[in-house]
């Protein structure tokens, strides 16, 4: 273990460490940031949900967007897997189907950053398991 | 000097910074009653736990009452010492103490001399509103001291004396809460502890929780037995204090009345321990000179400094705490025991009485002397050299009991041959006295010259540790003096570490020496009394026609008729002793 010899050392260490517990901070502050749930059931995983989740996390990081990406169970849209649910602060959740990397990038670029709607929204007639 | 102005009971007063409210009040004649607090001025002894809460006073601006003993004055302070609130609190506190105190004052050894009793009287307590369970403890009787802790009020004075002043460490506060009390380890009896029986705990105990073993009954029985010849010896410090018990000013010398009273009590012979003190000087002085001569002759084995050995508490102290130094003190017995030994041999022969029929009583300022005469090595076939040791207080009690009007007694002399003494024997009663007496003799014997100046003021005083160098005709002799065992410990530690430069050291267990002994009339925390007793001792010395032990004609006669010479085989047998390692024993 290296000694912390200056304020800068401490700062560096802190920044490195903050990423590791950011997840907890964001969880605590979820209402005010972007929340994305990736349906991670058997069919979802089979259609590449895991890769999409990692891709989303990386992309959001790149764009410095504070977001919570979590996995959730089957949303019931097996025909449209992988599906993700995006909740912007103060808005209702919107579910996107058939999300591949290209569409994921589009969702981030258009919906999350610029708040424009993107094709492929699934009808919001389901209930999230939270409710 | 930094002065602080304050108001006590509407009177302005200006005192030094660091003065307590209690002291400040007493400076303008306001007496705030206190109980646990005790200060012996100039002796560096202070007990200030702030525990009894009797001295609480009202200080303007403070939420609670403040203990006057521990509250230092501050600028502009306004104190009310006797407001109704303070009086009410004080009375309640004393009632609480009494609610946990036996009410057997009628037969308490301390009745009439008890600080708690006086306080309850002063506060006019006629009823205790808060009765309840009382704490009870097993009574502990040792050869010298009785502990009746039911009467303990947790002032902690004894603990302070035993630890801080004497560094003995026999006592400590134990348990907590309602069961807290002061006790030896494991609540064992004192005789299983490192207690030296110096009796300083007894000397400061405000109640009857700590008292001496009462031997008056045994003495009365002996005196009333026609088959016994009962003789008495009285220690030097007794004559400087006994008067206090009969209303004399502290420092009044009552030597003549003392002898008269003892005679009226029925003792067959009234002798003086001072005689034995002179004898001690010859033995101990000779031993010192022998050691010195050997040392100067290049003997590296010789033990120096030589330590005095007349104080039994001190002897027990080093036996427990410094057993490895046990061949350093002089082997001479204490004057009490030399007296007993000579009385039951030389004198018994002289008057033709069997030692079994001779009862030797000693009047001592000390409680450890009771223990000393019970030591096995000081008896012959189970018959002790000294049968009973009474304290000054016990003697006063006997005198009263016998309806002797002490103050109107004529002055009488001691009997001969064991009643003759010199000024040197007298000063044994105070710190520094033994060594001064020894020097008066040693100088003349060593140098062969007559000593011109007898008053060695450099050896006198109340400093706990004193040192002086005496010129033995060109040879500087370094003297150390300690009174109080805590001070003694410092000198012993130096010896242990090989740092001691002294040739001879005098050690007395009690602060002030024997005048401050545990068997003396209670000083109730007034150190002035000790100083006055000390002055009285030196007065007695100055008035004596002979002031050097070796000039005591009866001592000379004793050697001629009986002992031969100092340190002779016979003298060794009768007047010297050995010491034991008590550090590991079951004590």
């Amino acid at each position: 273990m290296n000694k912390i010899k200056s304020l800068d050392d401490l700062r560096q260490l802190r920044e490195g460490m903050q990423a590791k517990i950011k997840l907890r901070e964001s969880g605590d502050n979820a209402e005010n940031i972007v929340r994305i749930k990736v349906a991670m059931s058997t069919c979802g995983i089979a259609s590449g949900a895991k890769e999409i989740m990692t891709y989303l996390m990386d992309e959001l990081e790149q764009h410095s967007i504070e977001a919570v990406v979590s996995q959730t169970g089957c949303m019931g849209y097996c025909f449209a897997e992988p599906t993700i649910e995006v909740t912007l602060p103060g808005k209702d959740p919107i579910v996107f189907g058939d999300v591949d990397k290209y569409r994921a990038a589009e969702i981030i670029e258009k919906y999350i950053i610029h708040n424009e709607l993107v094709d492929g929204i699934l009808p919001a007639n389901y209930r999230t398991i939270d409710n | 000097m930094d002065m602080i102005n304050l108001t006590i009971d509407n009177r302005p007063v200006s005192v030094e910074r660091g003065t307590s409210v209690l002291q400040a009040a007493s400076q303008i004649g306001i007496n705030i009653p206190s109980l646990c607090y005790m200060k012996l001025e100039d002796l560096n002894i202070e007990n200030k736990p702030g525990g009894c809460r009797v001295c609480v006073v009202e200080v303007e601006g403070r939420r609670n009452l403040a203990p006057a003993c521990c509250t230092d004055v501050s600028e502009g302070m306004v104190v009310k010492t006797h407001s109704m609130r303070a009086i009410h609190a004080r009375r309640t506190v004393v009632e609480l103490i009494l609610s946990d105190h036996p009410t057997d004052c009628l037969k308490c050894a301390k009745a009439g001399n008890c600080d708690l009793q006086s306080l309850a009287q002063y506060l006019g307590i006629r009823e205790i509103h808060y009765e309840g369970e009382q704490s009870t403890f097993r009574e502990d009787t040792s050869p010298a001291i009785i502990r009746e802790l039911d009467k303990c009020i947790r002032c902690r004075r004894c603990e302070m004396m035993c630890n801080e002043v004497q560094s003995v460490g026999a006592l400590s506060a134990i348990n907590r809460g309602f069961n807290a009390v002061v006790s030896p380890a494991f609540e064992m009896n004192l005789d299983h502890s490192v207690c030296t029986y110096c009796g300083q705990c007894v000397a400061v105990c405000p109640t009857g929780a700590l008292t001496e073993v009462d031997n008056t009954g045994a003495v009365i029985r002996a005196l009333s037995n026609p088959d016994k010849t009962v003789i008495v010896q009285t220690a030097p410090a007794v004559r400087a204090a006994l008067g206090e018990e009969f209303g004399n000013e502290p420092g009044t010398l009552v030597t003549g009345k003392l002898a008269a009273a003892l005679r009226r009590l029925g003792f067959n012979y009234v002798f003086d321990t001072d005689f034995a003190a002179d004898l001690t000087i010859l033995e101990e002085g000779t031993e010192l000179l022998n050691r010195l001569t050997a040392y100067l002759g290049g003997d590296k084995e010789v033990k120096l400094p030589m330590l005095t050995s007349c104080c039994p508490a001190w002897v027990k102290f080093f036996e427990h705490q410094f057993p490895e130094l046990k061949d350093i003190p002089s082997s001479a017995r204490s004057p009490q025991q030399m007296f007993g030994s000579i009385a039951k041999s030389y004198f018994a022969d002289k008057i033709g009485v069997n030692r079994k029929d001779l009862v030797v009583v000693s009047i001592m300022p000390c409680v450890a002397k009771k223990y000393e005469c019970s030591r096995e090595e000081f008896s012959v076939n189970g018959n002790p050299d000294v049968d009973f040791a009474l304290t000054t207080r016990e003697l006063a009690h006997l005198i009263n009991l016998a309806n002797i009007d002490f103050k109107s007694l004529p002055d009488e002399d001691f009997d001969q041959p064991l009643g003759e003494s010199t000024g040197a024997g007298v000063i044994f009663g105070t710190t520094g006295g033994v060594i001064e007496a020894a020097i008066r003799t040693a100088y003349e014997v060593f140098t062969g010259k007559k000593l011109e100046r007898l008053d060695f003021t450099e050896l006198r005083g109340m400093e706990g540790l004193r040192r002086a160098t005496i010129d033995f005709d060109g040879l500087p002799i370094h003297i150390g003096i300690a009174h109080g065992l805590g001070n003694a410990r410092k000198l012993l530690e130096d010896i242990q570490q090989g740092k001691s430069q002294f040739h001879a050291i005098e050690i007395m267990s009690c602060p002030g020496g024997c005048i401050g002994g545990g068997g003396q009339p209670y000083h109730h925390g007034d150190a002035e009394i000790l100083k006055k007793r000390q002055m009285a001792i030196y007065r007695e010395d100055a008035g004596k026609p002979i002031r050097k032990s070796h000039e005591n004609p009866y001592i000379t006669k004793l050697y001629e008729e009986f002992l031969g010479s100092p340190m002779s085989e016979k003298a060794h047998h009768l007047l010297h002793t050995e010491y034991f390692d008590r550090s590991k024993s079951e004590r």
């Binding site: - | 400590s172 348990n175 030896p184 494991f186 064992m188 490192v194």
Partner: protein
């Protein structure tokens, strides 16, 4: 008080503890903690030895031992039972629990069962007020204890349990 003779090993242990604290009188409480931890309790002979090692009076050591309720001078049961007497436990019925344990074991607080298996003590809050009333057996905490459970808890320890590791005097 019955005398016990300390084994050479015990003497060494105590001396070693004292020397880790540099035989410093001021470390007395730490020394006592360590000694009790290793020996289970602090008999008079151990206190004498400690006093000797730290160069202080036995009376003082005893004074400290009897001041703090954490220190024991008698051996504890193989399974010391402690009942929390904190306020939260008290208002949730700790007294009844204590009473039931006393009844079951037929001992008073501060005593051990004749077979040396259990000893009973009360302690101040253990800080598990959410679980009040709380009983501890050794280090194990039992929460939300009802008087009816006591028999079962004691039975757990009645037989077949491993004796906690402790040095014999």
């Amino acid at each position: 008080m019955p005398k016990i003779k300390l084994s050479q090993r015990t003497i060494e242990i105590v001396k070693e503890i004292c020397s880790t604290f540099e035989n410093n009188e001021g470390e007395l409480i730490n020394v006592l903690h360590e000694a009790q931890h290793k020996l289970g309790y602090l008999p008079a002979e151990v206190q004498e030895l400690i006093a000797n090692e730290l160069n202080m009076s036995v009376a003082k050591v005893y004074g400290v031992v009897t001041f703090y309720s954490f220190f024991n001078m008698i051996p504890q049961g193989e399974f010391p039972i402690s009942v929390c007497m904190g306020t939260a436990c008290y208002v949730r019925g700790a007294e009844q629990i204590l009473h039931e344990i006393k009844r079951q074991l037929n001992i008073e607080v501060g005593q051990s069962t004749p077979d040396g298996k259990f000893s009973l003590n009360c302690l101040r809050c253990v800080g598990a007020c959410g679980l009040a009333p709380v009983v501890m057996v050794g280090e194990k905490v039992y929460g939300r204890v009802a008087p009816q459970q006591i028999r079962k808890i004691i039975a757990e320890y009645q037989e077949g349990c491993v004796r906690p590791e402790r040095h014999e005097m």
